[in-house]
């Protein structure tokens, strides 16, 4: 039985197959409308999430399957002190596949040890968020036509932003990738990712503070939110939260084919006026998130259409 804990669980060839399937789903949704009839997806969300939970649920419903689950720890037996191990053993009796989000890092890995069904890591603290990475990869491939030979700007909270960390790990497997890391000093990419991943693999990168300095040379800009929940100190959060604001004036500095991605939710880092720019791709990214999760559910359940 296969699970998804990290985006690196799939080889690049397997990712290609997964994205090919997602592309086929996008083109022929009716073909897949009953693929999961009689199957149930359990969404075990121990912390609030709008997009990720609804995206998984929409994916299963689009495939003709059913959904069950909980959307916060308060509304589950976790509030009574039940362990992840016991919960997953129980849920394995109810559902065919599950997606788990948990504030504690490594919780889905614990679930895997006791699960009788495939487990999808839907985000574990600041650790991994593999379905977001799969979404990002599919979006980039569909917009740019390839995943190699690009200059990618990563902007915002590069220290705590797990989507950025996962995306770096996933993209360095493709040739010709280089990064411009755009962040304030306090939110720089952690040293271990720079040394253990970028330096070790010889991936070119530079670090800048000003977004304007990076924009002209980018093929793609990945914006992130400064996440309030990752700060222990409210003062630090307030100081950092509006450090970057991408607006129409800054977009004038960017190449005509530089798409803007964002894992959402956004706060102030992308001005609403940018939404009308054809290069603003973050809502298309949400749609691709559903397609890739449909492909993932089919793949983990070993359903061929």
């Amino acid at each position: 039985m296969r699970h998804l804990m990290s985006p690196l669980d799939f080889t690049t060839e397997e990712l290609d197959s997964l994205m090919d399937l997602a592309e086929d789903i996008e083109k022929n949704p009716k073909k897949y409308a009953h693929a999961c009839e009689g199957k149930k997806l359990a969404t075990l969300f121990y912390e609030p999430s709008t997009r990720t939970r609804l995206s998984h649920e929409a994916a299963m419903l689009n495939l003709g399957g059913s959904i069950l689950g909980f959307s916060s720890a308060d509304s589950s037996s976790a509030a009574k002190g039940e362990s992840v191990s016991d919960t997953i053993r129980t849920v394995s009796c109810y559902a065919d596949i599950c997606a788990m989000r948990h504030p504690k890092e490594g919780a889905p890995m614990v679930a895997v040890r006791h699960a009788g069904i495939p487990v999808i890591n839907a985000g574990d603290g600041g650790h991994q968020h593999p379905t977001q990475t799969l979404t990002d990869l599919l979006t980039i491939r569909q917009l740019k036509g390839h995943l190699d030979n690009m200059v990618i700007g990563l902007c915002g909270d590069l220290k705590f932003g797990r989507t950025v960390h996962s995306l770096i790990h996933a993209l360095v497997r493709y040739p010709g990738i280089s990064f411009i890391l755009i962040s304030p000093e306090e939110l720089r990419l952690p040293g271990y990712i720079r040394s253990d991943v970028l330096d070790q693999l010889g991936i070119p990168y530079k670090e800048v503070v000003r977004l304007e300095d990076a924009l002209p040379s980018l093929d793609l800009l990945y914006m992130t939110r400064v996440q309030k929940e990752r700060f222990f100190n409210e003062e630090d959060y307030v100081r950092m939260k509006d450090f970057y604001i991408l607006d129409a004036r800054k977009m004038e500095l960017a190449p005509k084919d530089m798409y803007v991605l964002h894992p959402l939710p956004r706060v102030n880092e992308i001005a609403v006026e940018v939404d009308d720019d054809p290069r603003a791709a973050y809502f298309r990214q949400v749609q691709y998130g559903v397609y890739i999760r449909m492909a993932l559910i089919l793949t983990l359940l070993e359903i061929k259409v």
């Binding site: 504030p103 504690k104 490594g106 890995m109 574990d124 600041g126």
Partner: protein, 143 residues
């Protein structure tokens, strides 16, 4: 100058752990769970050493399949392990970094699932043998 000597008699079967960094023997005693072993254990602290100046030595008299010495490689792979049978050294074991260690160290990441999940083993995996880096199996925090 009076040289202090302390003799501990030889053992017929078991292990002599030599070249332990001075002062580390009690940590090793605990990590190997030697307190749970119903056999003769001698701990020699601050013994003279030509190579190290001072060193600790542990002698354990027990059947040689009784102890898993894997963890020693994690604590200090410079320790010399002599395997004794019939009062003779039959093998000098070279220590290697174990691929995985269980319940030896705990994850310091307060956001790790090991901080709340009951009955969960603390497992660290060797992720970079060249730099001797171990990471928590669950949250990947570096030890």
């Amino acid at each position: 100058m009076v040289r202090s000597t302390l003799n501990v008699s030889s053992i017929s079967e078991g292990f002599v752990l030599d070249h332990i960094q001075a002062g580390k023997s009690m940590e090793i005693y605990r990590q190997l769970n030697l307190d749970e072993l119903d056999c003769c254990v001698a701990i020699i602290k601050n013994a003279e050493s030509g190579k190290m100046g001072k060193k600790d030595i542990i002698k354990i008299e027990c059947p040689i399949d009784r102890i898993d010495l894997n963890v020693l490689g994690f604590i200090d792979h410079n320790i010399t392990v002599n395997i004794i049978k019939d009062e003779k050294i039959v093998e000098k074991m070279s220590l290697q970094l174990p691929k995985e260690i269980k319940n030896v160290v705990t994850c310091k990441n307060p956001r790790c699932i090991t901080s709340i999940e009951q009955g969960l083993d603390q497992v660290f995996v060797l992720t970079d043998p060249a730099k001797e880096v171990y990471r928590c199996k669950y949250c990947e925090e570096k030890y």
